[in-house]
Amino acid sequence: MHIPDGFIDAPTSAIFGAASVAGVAVSLRGARKQLDERAAPLAGLVAVFIFAVQMINFPVGAGTSGHLMGGALAMVLVGPHAAVLAVTVVLIVQALMFADGGLSALGLNVFNLALVGVWSAYVLYGLLRLILPKVRSSVVVGSFVAALVSVPVAAVGFVGQYAIGGSEVFGLGAVFSAMFGTHVLIGIGEAFITALTVSSLLSSRQDLVFGWKAPLRSPVEV
């Protein structure tokens, strides 16, 4: 779902580029506040982790396999700001070095995958943690739902961009149902792997799971 150049028109790309700059700027400040000088090495290694995790394919049946996007996972593990920065850097590197995602579409991709993907997971996770009992299994359930929903929501971001600046060849309804449908399926795989990963970390190194240590603090105040 890395949008290439030319898929969405130039003005729309520019608008979302500006929105992404603003969103990333918020996380730059947030991460500095949350992690101070540790922000750079930790977010850097989290970026490496996401990059590596995206290389892990999981079979989803019918001869195809999906791979983890990692936005929700990173959010639960290191908090929303560091997750946004790590995913953004992965997208920058993929666009510049692997031609994966267009350079003029970088703003669109950062908006969907880093901003929408991470923050939707954050909001959902935060709500669930408020409702659910304060036990470890709630963290696992929260991660599952956050990952499950954040993937199709990021896809909806794409549909929105397509509606504003894409071609009119396919009706919006068709694009929406195609994108939403496939990404719900992908979201299920993402949800299972995310929840299982969080659960395995909770049993071995719960001190490293941000969503367990600091689940209910506002990201702005952290």
Binding site: A31, N57, M69
Partner: protein, 273 residues
């Protein structure tokens, strides 16, 4: 994301991204103007060229012919073998399929092409995505084939990417090999105990791999931080200073987008006549 079924845990970097050493093996060493341009010049020139390209309406087809010649010229000047460039462009493939679907299933007015009924709008949009996407991919391939990862990093730094992002990119470039080596060792350890991941049941196991990977990455991040602290780190990486591009370099590099812009302007005038 969907991709064809593969061994779920093949060596992560080497198989997927041609070459074990991230960002270094992508470089094809030559002595060309393109190789010698400072990275910030290359990145900006490429970015502007792509913007011009994306902003050009698809029915200005004459402009796209010239853009294509400009891209091809750049590849030839950089002495990059066309087959390697083509192979690295395959990443675009899913969108090629999408573009091909557009004329077939698109809505609106239909036209007959070689006896097949196609959507006119679909042809235009499909061609637009195909051509612009391809030029974008070719530019990126050209950049990574002529510029080592750490030079790209330096280019981003000179283009005033916020320092914290520069640092994150820097750590990513530095440690992606280290972490992928760790992953490869974990895989060997697993295989030598006769394990093979299969089907949905492998999910739990893949999650354990991801968990172990996260612990290693995070702890490495902390150790790196301590090592930095021990050498007086106070939030900034040293700017190595040297290597600013002269006017000549900027002129050479920006020739590409400027030519494209001229072509766009001329086509615009010509079409509106």
């Amino acid at each position: 994301m969907i991709r064809p079924n593969e061994d779920p845990l093949k060596h992560p970097i080497s198989d997927h991204h041609h070459g074990h050493d991230f960002g270094e093996r992508l470089v094809l060493h030559r002595h060309s103007i393109v190789h010698h341009l400072e990275p910030q010049v290359k990145i900006l020139a490429m970015f502007l060229f792509i913007i011009v390209c994306v902003a050009t309406p698809i029915h200005f087809w004459q402009a796209f012919v010239v853009y294509g010649l400009l891209v091809l010229g750049t590849i030839l000047i950089a002495q990059l073998p066309l087959n390697v460039v083509a192979r690295r462009s395959l990443i675009e493939l899913p969108f090629v399929f999408f573009a091909i679907m557009m004329p077939i299933f698109g809505s609106g007015e239909r036209v007959e092409v070689l006896g097949v009924s196609l959507s006119r709008l679909g042809i235009e949009s499909g061609a637009s995505i195909l051509v612009k996407g391809t030029f974008g991919v070719l530019c990126a391939v050209c950049l990574s084939a002529t510029t080592p990862a750490r030079e790209i990093l330096r280019g981003l730094e000179r283009l005033r990417l916020p320092n914290l992002l520069v640092q994150i990119v820097s750590f990513m470039i530095r440690y992606v090999n280290v972490v992928s080596d760790e992953m490869a060792r974990m895989k060997i350890a697993r295989l030598s105990r006769g394990f093979e991941a299969q089907g949905v049941r492998s999910w739990r196991f893949l999650a354990n791999v991801a968990g172990a990977l996260f612990i290693r990455s995070y702890e490495r991040g902390e150790r790196v931080y301590l090592a930095m602290l021990s050498r007086g780190y106070s939030g900034k990486l040293p700017d190595t200073g040297h290597g600013s591009a002269g006017i000549r370099q900027w002129a050479q590099g920006l020739l590409l987008p400027v030519l494209a812009l001229l072509v766009l302007a001329m086509t615009n005038i010509w079409m509106s006549r």
